[in-house]
C-alpha cells in the first residue's frame, strides 16, 4: 500500500500542498500545522503521514516535540526547475483559450 505513495500523488491534494507551503518557511509541530485547518486533527495527521512517507516532509525530534520540515532535495525530484512551472501556465492558458473560444461562438 505504501508503495503507491509517490510525490505526485502527495502533491495532488490541495490540503497537502497547503501543508507544504506552511512548512516551507519554518519547522512546525503537527499541532501547529493542524491549527491552520478546520479539518479534523486525524485527517491532518494522515496527510502528514503521507507527506513523510514520500519524503517531502522530514521529521525531527526536538525535546518532546516532533517537528516537520520541508525536504528540498525531494522537492527537486518533482520540480525539475522550470518544467512544472511551464506546465502550470500552459494548462492555464489552454483553459483560457478554450473558454474564450466558447465565449466567442456564443456571441
Amino acid at each position: 500500500m505504501n508503495l503507491r505513495r509517490d510525490v505526485f500523488q502527495a502533491i495532488a491534494d490541495p490540503t497537502r500542498r497547503a501543508i507544504l507551503l506552511l512548512v516551507s518557511s519554518q519547522s512546525m509541530t503537527a499541532g501547529a500545522i493542524a491549527s491552520n485547518f478546520d479539518t479534523a486533527r486525524p485527517t491532518v495527521s494522515k496527510h502528514l503521514q503521507i507527506l513523510t512517507e514520500c519524503e517531502l516532509l522530514k521529521q525531527e525530534q526536538n525535546g518532546r516535540e516532533m517537528y516537520y520540515h520541508l525536504n528540498p532535495n525531494k522537492l527537486k525530484e518533482i520540480a525539475d526547475f522550470i518544467e512544472p512551472f511551464q506546465k502550470m501556465w500552459d494548462d492555464r492558458f489552454k483553459t483560457l483559450e478554450n473558454i474564450m473560444k466558447k465565449y466567442q461562438s456564443k456571441k
Binding site: 516551507s24 492555464r92 474564450m100
Partner: protein, 155 residues
C-alpha cells in the same frame, strides 16, 4: 495548431518572461483578463475584487470544500490600457514570498491570433528560483484539477 507557453528565465536574473500566442483575437484575449467571472474560471480561484483601473486593486481567494482558505492573493493595478497593457503587483498572502511586479503586454498578431508577454520581476534571484521550484506553492496548481474539469466540460 498546438501553441506552447514559453518561459524564459536567465541564470542570475531576478526576472522571468512568460510568452504565449493564442488562437484568439486580441480583444478576446484581453477580455479573459478583464472580466472577473472569466478570470475566476481559468484561474480556478474566486475573484473577490477586480478593479481594472489605475490605483485599482484585485483580490483572489481559493478554498477547499470545507471552506478552508488554501490560497489568497492580492495586488494593485498601476496601469490598465485595454487591449494593450496591464501593470500590476502580485502578492501571495500568508507565504514567505515577497510582492512581485508584473508587466503584461497584449499584442495583435492577426485578426484571429494574439500574443501575451508577461514580464515578472521578483525581489531577488533566490525568490524567483524558489517560485519556479515550488509551482504549487504559488497556489496556481491548487486549482489545476478544477481547471482541467472546466476545460473538459468545454470540449
Amino acid at each position: 495548431m498546438e501553441r506552447k507557453t514559453k518561459i524564459n528565465a536567465e541564470d542570475d536574473k531576478q526576472e522571468l518572461l512568460i510568452t504565449r500566442e493564442f488562437d484568439l483575437p486580441l480583444e478576446l484575449l484581453f477580455k479573459a483578463y478583464e472580466d472577473s467571472e472569466i478570470v475566476a474560471q481559468w484561474m480556478g480561484t474566486k475573484v473577490i475584487k477586480l478593479e481594472n483601473k489605475k490605483h485599482g486593486g484585485y483580490q483572489f481567494e481559493t478554498s477547499d470544500k470545507e471552506g478552508n482558505v488554501l490560497f489568497s492573493a492580492n495586488g494593485t493595478i498601476h496601469e490598465f490600457l485595454p487591449n494593450q497593457r496591464i501593470t500590476r503587483t502580485f502578492e501571495m498572502e500568508n507565504t514567505p514570498f515577497p510582492v512581485q511586479l508584473e508587466y503584461l503586454e497584449f499584442e495583435r498578431l492577426t485578426d484571429t491570433t494574439s500574443k501575451l508577454t508577461m514580464h515578472i520581476v521578483y525581489k531577488s534571484v533566490a525568490f524567483r528560483n524558489q517560485v519556479l521550484q515550488l509551482p504549487f506553492a504559488q497556489g496556481i496548481n491548487m486549482a489545476h484539477n478544477r481547471l482541467q474539469e472546466i476545460a473538459d466540460r468545454l470540449k
